[in-house]
Symmetry: C2
């Protein structure tokens, strides 16, 4: 099985779970459920859920119900995209090749759809049927912290907004990245580990792996924003430069940024050595993150 | 001790816990923490947290740490006010007598501050130090459902938005209310019960009580919007009528609305009879909700 087959298989599993865990369109009030589903199912590689599943498999293969826990990560990621795209924030019209949520449903419903996905994520985690309450509480603590203001997603988003037009320093760049994308990617990997009963040592290894692929992911994202067209990315390309965002290419240049991504890949691979062969898909995913073209 | 003394004492306890559980203003990124604290500490009677504490005391007096759990309710309530006040939603400039969050910090930060308070609420609940993981999971499930789209707060908010200018039917009115304010008020009472180890029978009684005071609360809110001035309310008065909102006075008239509120009060009092003297503050709170002037 190639990594692409693996991704496709796990994404299908996640999509099936998302379908089941998200209120149907015909449930009242329909508008909000249509908006939530529009953004959830507009596409996306399900990288966070797949990372969680691969991490769980590295600790204890074939944990029942891991895909439900993984769905919460996609809900939180999707809520963050909906809110980031709003006119008051990044003001983006295009996401994954289609009009953004507020373009289709209006701003009010888009704000509420984001709120609803965030809320639903925690409901899903609190109710996980095959996961003891201790593990559920640990997972919710980690996910909430990674989505929050202190070294979390919202914190990174605020620093990103405030950083627009400021001198691009390496320090600010790393702080933004660590929160904005790094925290939830790391939480995805740790969630899988917690779900599968990781020891402290295993959790530490997964955390390290998460840090490195998180950083690699953001560096590659910034590079693609410079190099690719909007069509290839499925979102508006070249926006970072246009908005004066602090990016890796802006701070380090393209060549050094590419080298940094490769270095992070090596560190990620080294971090999961203690899992031996069971880390196969974690390794493949790390390579995919760095070599992707969109 | 009068109910006003009780409210003041519990509110002080809740404020102390909120102070401890919310990141300090000087923690980076400062803007978001300033915005969260501005809206959390702009005032408010802390009715939801106090209901939770009184419900817990009716089940098992003096539960350690109940105020931390109660804070999550105030965080969620505050997030919903911040987002409701946004220009794309109710577009309100005044809240609790002071400029709304987006008026002070801008729309982008207000959206993120709301997101952050919702996220923080779940982190607080997942980490409650004096509450076993089973109870924590049950509380998070209930709180998330009450804040969600299906018979929850966001669902009510969507129906409220969609109902503007529509013929004011009793059915739509009750659906909106049940979600928009009723669900979180009921969840507040149930949270207290769960925290204190309520039996199914006790939880049922608290749920009923929560339904009735939730309905009473909304009826009185609608009446006050008609009768009181903005100064008395600390928010823009008469907005319901101006926006063509569906309200109890609009559907039933003022006199019948007042009678309905009194009837809900009687039902709330009857629901908690099984707690005997331990329901003293729940009874006093129900009376306060119906007799308040702001």
């Amino acid at each position: 099985m190639t990594i692409h087959d693996y991704m496709a298989r796990q994404a299908a599993r996640v999509n099936e779970a998302l379908e089941r865990l998200t209120p149907p369109e015909h449930a009242a009030p329909e508008t909000i459920h249509r908006a939530m589903r529009y953004s959830l199912f507009v596409g996306g590689k399900r990288i966070r859920p797949v990372l969680a599943i691969a991490a769980a498999d590295a600790v204890t293969p074939d944990m029942a119900g891991i895909e439900d826990a993984a769905c919460a990560l996609e809900m939180i990621h999707t809520y963050s995209l909906i809110h980031d795209d709003l006119p008051a924030l990044d003001n983006d019209d295009l996401r994954r090749g289609r009009p953004t949520c507020h373009k289709v449903f209006g701003e009010a419903v888009a704000i509420l759809a984001g709120d609803a996905l965030l809320t639903l994520a925690f409901e899903v985690l609190a109710k996980l049927p095959y996961c003891g309450p201790m593990r559920r509480a640990r997972i919710i603590t980690e996910v909430a912290a990674s989505a929050g203001t202190q070294n979390g997603m919202i914190g990174g988003q605020v620093q990103d907004l405030e950083g627009e037009g400021q001198p691009p320093t390496a320090e600010l760049l790393h702080a933004i990245h660590k929160g904005k994308t790094g925290a939830l990617l790391r939480a995805s990997v740790r969630l899988g580990g917690f779900y599968a009963g990781a020891s402290d040592l295993q959790d530490e290894a997964l955390s390290l792996y998460g840090n490195h692929i998180g950083l690699a992911f953001q560096i590659v994202d910034d590079i693609l924003d410079v190099e690719q067209s909007s069509e290839q990315l499925g979102k508006t390309a070249g926006k970072d430069a246009a908005q004066g965002k602090i990016t890796f290419p802006a701070v380090y240049g393209l060549k050094e940024s590419r080298e940094m991504a490769d270095e992070q890949l090596e560190l990620a691979l080294a971090a999961v050595e203690l899992f031996g062969g069971r880390a196969h898909w974690l390794r493949e995913l790390a390579m995919l993150v760095v070599r992707r073209r969109a």
